[in-house]
């Protein structure tokens, strides 16, 4: 039998799906004498197929198995070693057809090139994949030439706003030292986004190397990675990577034999969305309440402890090594003229292929959803895709030809955001989605600006009223007025963008608001207060199951007689609907 390599994906989502058990089985299998090279890796992005095991080195070429069952994995590896095709769920295959091969076709991997490929806890694996070569090259360049290279690559900040990274670097480079900082924003607060988590879990050295290069280019000697505490594995992998980089002389004093020194720390967030905003983030690193401050001064002039500071998002930093190695011109060949390069998206919601993808800018949304994302999860048709989280908006089916770049997405009223894409189907109520986001921003508003603090609360009250069937037509005007004022009256991006989810749903799904307000009806059947439960007389056999389950005793009727629901008393909990075995209760 050939000596094959077996790699198990052990990122957060893999572990949550049971990958650790699979790994343990394989370890025992190896200990029992099987000559396999057992390795760990992170996430290749197909979270919906976790746990995933990759087999390579055998005559069949590389195979990836999905939804692996721990009871059977050892047999499958055994088959593979004998050159027989395992009777497993083969998702990717080098030499033959496989169910998910096509999902990778539309992707271009720069940021995620090592994710799910190498062992993120091994600096040797990163170096073998070409790691720290960019740093070596950068250290032989003049700092201003590096800034120039990043500028001409056209890289735009991946944290949301899309500001030119090279330009931002040039401000910090020009600022007066001697003390300067670089910061990596890994707060990833958008609900529905997990790009930065996967990048840090899967390839921490790539982010760290990007930061070292940036620090050298801008003349900083200290850096922080601000990572949310809900990502314990990302933090653990970063810590391991920093220690290893120090031991190898990539961090610390006299990096790679030069005069350049750089020290890197990790700061854990403490659970506040607004701390993803750069000025609030710096307050938080300084140990204070994370309240945004007025800009100017911009961080490039006066940031952490008053020193010039450059903040970039995880994914922005993760692009740097590729740009330095391959050059700005190569980078510009990918993507569009105004938005070069790729973008990582976290696909979630009602989509078949939920997980992480990296696509070239300029790809139409419909290709992301129907090709790279594998289409809808169920029979229910597509309704909207939410981009940009609480600062973004819902893009309807009619706009699926929109291409992915900063300017085209902005034109729809949504924003590119950091890369969360939540797909919604006909079973999702858009008023409820708007209420969901307003509930979020209302909770997370730091309270500094009155319009943001109180305005979002008023909007939430109105939306709640509408979902409860108590809305009136004037509420739509009220929402629009409040939205305009909150945008104008807020200091930071949180307030300035908080109304977006409401404005886009009002723009594209106004009918649904009207149905709630005028007809007291929720077309998607989500808003419980607007639901009605009724007994279908022909089907009811009088088994009394529903009446016994009803918590408010509002169902009358004796044994073997048709039952009746008292609509006045009904609290619409749906207990009767679940209890009925004869489909004799109508929900609508």
């Amino acid at each position: 039998m050939t000596n094959v390599t077996v790699k198990v994906g052990l990122a957060s989502c893999g572990v949550a799906a049971g990958a650790m058990e699979v790994y343990e089985v394989l370890r025992h299998y190896q200990q029992s004498g099987a000559a396999i090279d057992l390795q760990q890796t992170a996430c290749i992005g197909m979270c919906f197929e976790e746990p995933i095991v990759e087999l390579s080195g055998g005559t069949l070429g590389t195979l990836s198995l999905g939804k692996v069952e721990p009871e059977r994995i050892a047999d499958w590896v055994e088959d593979y070693r004998r050159g027989e095709l395992p009777q497993a769920n083969i998702i990717l295959a080098e030499k033959q057809e496989a169910t998910r091969n096509s999902l990778l076709d539309g992707q271009t991997r720069i940021v995620l090139r090592n994710c799910g490929v190498i062992d993120p806890k091994s600096i040797a694996a990163y170096e073998a994949a070409g790691g720290y070569i960019a740093l070596q090259k950068a250290l032989s360049m003049k700092p201003e030439d590096i800034v120039e290279e990043v500028k001409s690559s056209g890289l735009r900040g991946r944290g949301g706003a899309g500001f030119s990274t090279g330009l931002k670097w040039s401000f910090a480079a020009r600022a007066k030292g001697p003390k300067k900082y670089v910061v990596c924003n890994a707060d990833e607060g958008d609900p529905g986004a997990f790009m930065d988590r996967s990048t840090l879990e899967g390839d921490p050295h790539n982010v760290i190397e990007g930061m070292i290069i940036g620090a050298y280019a801008m003349g900083a000697d200290e850096g922080y990675i601000y990572c949310r505490a809900e990502y314990p594995m990302a933090i653990a992998h970063l810590k391991i990577a920093i220690e290893a980089a120090k031991a190898k002389g990539y961090l610390g004093k006299h990096i790679m034999g030069t005069d350049f020194n750089f020290e890197l720390h990790i700061k854990e967030g403490a659970g506040a969305f607004v701390c993803g905003e750069e000025t609030a983030l710096m307050q938080s690193i300084e140990g204070k309440r994370g309240m945004p401050t007025i800009r100017p001064p911009f961080p490039a002039e006066s940031g952490l402890w008053g020193c010039p500071t450059n903040i970039n998002n995880v994914e922005t930093w993760a692009n740097i090594t590729w740009i330095i190695t391959n050059g700005a011109d190569e980078f510009r060949k990918i993507g569009t003229d105004k938005s070069p390069g790729t973008k990582v998206f976290a696909l979630a919601g009602k989509i078949a292929g939920s997980g992480l993808i990296e696509v070239p800018m300029g790809i139409p949304l419909k290709d992301i959803i129907y090709k790279v994302g594998g289409g809808m999860k169920t029979e229910k048709p597509f309704k909207a895709v939410q981009m940009g989280g609480p600062s973004g908006g819902c893009i309807p089916a009619s706009l699926l030809d929109t291409i992915v770049d900063y300017d085209s997405i902005n034109a729809t009223g949504a924003i590119m955001g950091s890369g969360g894409m939540v797909v919604m189907d006909e079973g999702t109520c858009m008023v409820d989605v708007a209420r969901f986001f307003l509930n979020f921003t209302q909770n997370e508003s730091c309270g500094k600006c009155t319009f943001c603090r109180i305005g979002t609360r008023r909007m939430l009250e109105i939306l709640t009223r509408i979902t409860e069937g108590k809305g009136e037509m004037e509420d739509i005007t009220r929402l629009e007025e409040l939205a305009t004022n909150i945008i104008k009256g807020s200091l930071c991006g949180l307030g300035q963008t908080a109304p977006n989810p409401v404005l886009t749903t009002l723009r594209y799904f106004r009918d649904e608001y009207l149905a709630h307000i005028q007809d007291k009806r929720c077309p998607a059947g989500v808003c419980t207060s607007l639901l009605r439960f009724e007994v279908i007389e022909d089907k009811c056999i009088g088994c009394t199951a529903c009446a016994r389950k009803c918590p408010v005793a509002c169902i009358s009727g004796s044994v073997k007689q048709v039952h009746k629901i008292d609509q006045e008393k009904c609290i619409r909990c749906g207990a009767c609907f679940s209890a009925c075995k004869f489909n004799a209760i109508r929900k609508g």
Binding site: V15, A270, A346, S354, M424
Partner: protein, 158 residues
């Protein structure tokens, strides 16, 4: 009654005189004490020469800091967008029912569980998701909840 917080002294000593230490210091103090009582915050303020108001301000700003005693196991229910559209509310109801929490309560009477909502656990493809201590459970249905909680109750009895 004056409580004795001298067990904090080692932590405080480690951080004294360094910049930007308040949040990690409070995190460690909370890890040790389980939560930050007013007395504990006052103690830190005095020993570190930081205004108590600053400490209280930080404690109330970040959702990570707990001002009340917490249960032995922390159950985090994800309220992210993907979970929301996959009926996270149904999961929450099942949790509240299984834990027999009254309205406004978040900790069980036996102090075994504390339930809290979090904005997103970042495991969106497994929605709906909960996390108990450091273990994530995905693709949940309300029916699965009592069985999952039982595992933690069982360990408790042994």
């Amino acid at each position: 009654m004056e409580q004795d917080f001298s067990q904090l002294d080692a932590i405080l000593g480690m951080y004294r005189g360094k910049p930007g230490i308040l949040i990690p210091l409070m995190q460690e103090a909370q890890n040790l004490l389980g939560y930050l009582s007013k007395d504990a915050m006052r103690y830190i303020a005095q020993k570190m020469n930081i205004p108590a108001a600053d400490i209280y301000g930080v404690a109330t700003f970040y959702s990570m800091f707990k001002l009340k005693p917490q249960g032995k196991h922390i159950v985090r229910i994800c309220k992210g967008t993907a979970c929301h559209v996959s009926d996270a509310d149904g999961i929450k109801e099942a949790l509240v029912e299984a834990m027999q929490l009254e309205k406004g309560e978040d900790t069980t009477k036996d102090m075994n569980f504390t339930l809290m909502e979090v904005a997103c656990l970042g495991c969106c493809s497994l929605a709906p998701v909960i996390m108990i201590d450091d273990t994530t459970y995905g693709k949940l249905t309300p029916e699965a909840i009592p069985g999952i909680l039982e595992r933690y109750a069982f360990v408790e009895e042994q």
